[in-house]
Symmetry: C2
Amino acid sequence: MKRTDFTNCSCAMQRSMGILGTRWKPVIVYKLADRKIRFGQLAVMIEGISRKVLTSSLKELEEDGIVMREEFKEIPPRVEYSLTAKGKALIPIMCQLVKWNEEFHEQTDTLQPL
Amino acid sequence: MKRTDFTNCSCAMQRSMGILGTRWKPVIVYKLADRKIRFGQLAVMIEGISRKVLTSSLKELEEDGIVMREEFKEIPPRVEYSLTAKGKALIPIMCQLVKWNEEFHEQTDTLQPL
């Protein structure tokens, strides 16, 4: 099933996953939060992301109305990313995911072999 | 970057994505909610999921302490899945994602060509 097939699902949870359901997109949204960030800065802020994956994720998030891309015609050209209202509405949810992980992270460590 | 690499990240958001960051896993968690469900029922409840992807997703969710698998030695054998406490703690967050989608879904429809 393609990303766009998810966006047309009758289930709102599946539609959300059509927009966010990758390992990287929620991390990108969380890092952007209420700031404008340049591509290069984002690439440094997110542990282990490749420039290729960051580029394609930002492009899809822009298509889905989550991220706004602003290009400034300077020399050298500057491109900044920020969240739209739809994207900003995700921040409290992302913060809860962080809380959830912090609460249960240690617990899982003790359950699983290293 | 592999799933297990995410689980060892210093960023709690990335750790969460090591556990949940696919299109299907949050949908599986949301469908399980507070019920015990058989594999075959889950496969029917989730639009478009293949049995192969459902099997591997459930296995990983079990490894990460989100899902509990119970096998009943009946004829034919019965296997039921349910959420652990760690998995149940995700339900309010998943419900907010659904609300978020319902709120913004129509808005995106008008922004994007069909």
